[in-house]
Assembly symmetry: C2
Homo-oligomer: 384 residues x 2
């Protein structure tokens, strides 16, 4: 097991009716900004529940955060925060809204010229406004981590930062608010969670049996619970299990001491930036082909996945590893998640060349062996 | 899945050489009290590592905390804390030292007459000194929770309190400091961890597949790693895996949303208070017999344990449940942990009658169905 440091001070309130806990947990001595997205919370009852709990608090609203949240949107919120002397941020929505809220929190206290330097130049977040979340989409795990992905369309960028300063103080997770999620978003969240787990699991063995078994269990549970929510969107237990998988999938607890990958995300972000693919769609396109190119170095973990998640009966390790890749793609296909660029009307040669050029310009090396360079990314996307 | 609230703000520093991180993490603006036990840290090099990291800090030492830490010892430390105006506590040792440190932290700020009222009267901990730990024994999970068990021999009591105010700010876990642990303490820790997991797992199903699989995985890993440390006490990976199991075994993360039991601990504490049995020895005596009396209501979880941890091939659920109990006792026996009162020279009739009398006097109802009363405890111990 590798050395590690773990710190996750976010309080989690999970279950039916937990949104009303806001009135216990939010601060009463400062002005709150409620940040939300395109308005789905006004349709599914979350907005009403939150504003009922906010009765008596001093708060303003900032709506309109888009999926793949935009730098420009965040900058408008930062302006409002400063003008109104906001002291606390409450994100109400999915991972995009929460990621934006994290960037707003850091940006509002940023001492330099442009807060995007936190992302592009890796400047540390010295301070940030306190924040909390009501998370409505099981997907990014943003509710229990310090990560945020922010796009800047004007520069063709989609990139992330991570800081302890932007952990939510608390996150409210009521799985019943996901009953009305469109199928596309439900599936996106499931695929996102699956790929998060793969990025942490599927590298090479450093003797972490407990962690490996947790991650394999998470993938088994996702595969078992997905058909249930597709059959009955109001199956509370299945929704709860999927949400808890999503949170655990990226609070970094299950993979402590393990070697991680994250190359699928690195390439996937380019597809989203260039073609507007949903994050999970991009991951579903990249993962199988990336695993094909890395099968030799990942074969141990892939074979274990074949045996313990997919019940494959094939004693030869490298053959079992190959079957695991087919099984993952089969799982994505079985739930209606397309895995080829052409399925989304994207020319793979163009996409591969674009990504190769960008990776080469930034001299990018991804993956646990830092061997996913411009040329490998090209090969992966040419296979997609 | 049941509703839950989770908050665990302890920073974990895990791995070789992490004790030197103390110099980065301890406060420099207040006086620190280093709390430790009987002096084993002076033999295994931990004392030297800690004092080297403490160079330049303003600190005092308080040694001599005993296993099953005593109220009287804690009260002497509280006196010292007040006299010397201590502002931060650093526990260096096992769970007993850390539990004592938590009680000292709460007691030093206690506004009432007798801090033991926190335990016997369940008074809330309104405030506590900040504390941290270098944990040297994989067992109690105290390094990542807010629990503490404190004995008061003069009253024949061994009981616990729990408070968010006594979470360690950080805990340092270097598995290599456990290379020199006596076999008895190694086994105690493993059995303690196993029973902690059983207390959280083995109740009834409320649809928590991810949590169940994590707990089953933890027990599988413990069973697989134990022979390795017995064969080679300096097997770093096995020591690391066992320590991480112990921490995860009682940070309450893996069982969120599950129904819990804790009756084995309730009865075990009496045996330790009455006869000085090691905590884990007491648990090993109680658990198999408790499971026998509760087999009917626990059969679903027990059968799953039989299949997934012990590989039992018996389709009938109640029969498989019975085999699981034998397998647990067989595991304890295989590592040299005795499971009968007579093995420890204790008269079971006397022990059973003592516990029945105490449970009756306090009208105790333990277990997930609150059905473990004085008479059931008597039956359990008469079978032990």
């Amino acid at each position: 097991m590798n050395n590690f440091e773990y710190y996750r001070p976010t309080r989690i309130l999970f279950g039916k009716g937990q949104i009303e806990q806001l009135s216990r947990l939010l601060p009463r001595d400062t002005k709150i900004l409620m940040v939300y997205g395109g308005g789905s919370i006004k349709k599914n009852g979350v907005y009403d529940q939150v504003t009922a709990a906010l009765k008596g608090f001093d708060y303003l609203e900032f709506g309109g955060v888009e999926p793949n949240p935009e730098y420009e949107t965040c900058m408008r919120a930062i302006e409002l925060v400063k003008k109104e002397n906001i002291g606390f941020l409450l994100s109400v929505g999915g991972g995009s809204t929460l990621d934006a809220t994290k960037f707003i929190a850091a940006g509002a206290k940023f001492a330099g010229q442009d807060p995007y330097d936190i992302i592009t130049k890796g400047l540390p977040v010295a301070d940030a406004l306190p924040l909390a979340s009501v998370i409505t989409l099981p997907a990014t795990g943003s509710e229990m981590n310090g990560n945020a992905v922010i796009s800047r369309a004007s520069m063709g960028l989609k990139a992330s930062f991570v800081s302890e300063k932007v952990y939510p103080q608390f996150s409210v997770i009521d799985p019943s608010v996901t009953f009305t999620l469109p199928v596309r978003q439900t599936l996106n969240g499931i695929v996102d969670t699956f790929v998060h787990t793969m990025e942490q699991y599927c590298t090479y063995d450093v003797n972490t049996p407990l962690q490996d078994e947790w991650m394999l269990a998470l993938m088994r549970v996702l595969i078992a619970e997905t058909p249930k929510v597709l059959a009955d969107p109001e199956d509370f237990n299945a929704r709860a299990n999927i949400f808890w998988c999503a949170t655990c999938g990226l609070n970094h607890f299950m993979s402590l001491g393990c070697v991680q990958d994250w190359a699928t995300h690195g390439i996937g972000h380019e597809l989203t930036a260039d073609y507007g693919l949903d994050h999970a769609q991009a991951l579903a396109v990249v993962l199988p082909r990336l695993l094909q190119t890395q099968k030799a170095t990942k074969k141990g973990k892939l074979a274990k996945l074949a045996y313990e998640v997919f019940g494959v009966n094939e004693p030869d390790e490298i053959k079992a590893a190959g079957v695991a890749i087919y099984k993952i793609e089969e799982f994505f296909g079985s739930i209606g998640m397309k895995t080829h660029l052409k399925d989304y009307g994207i020319d793979r040669t163009e996409a591969a060349e674009k990504t190769r050029a960008k990776f080469a310009a930034r001299d990018i090396h991804l993956g646990e062996h830092a061997n996913i360079t411009a040329d490998t990314a090209y090969e992966i996307l040419m296979g997609s």
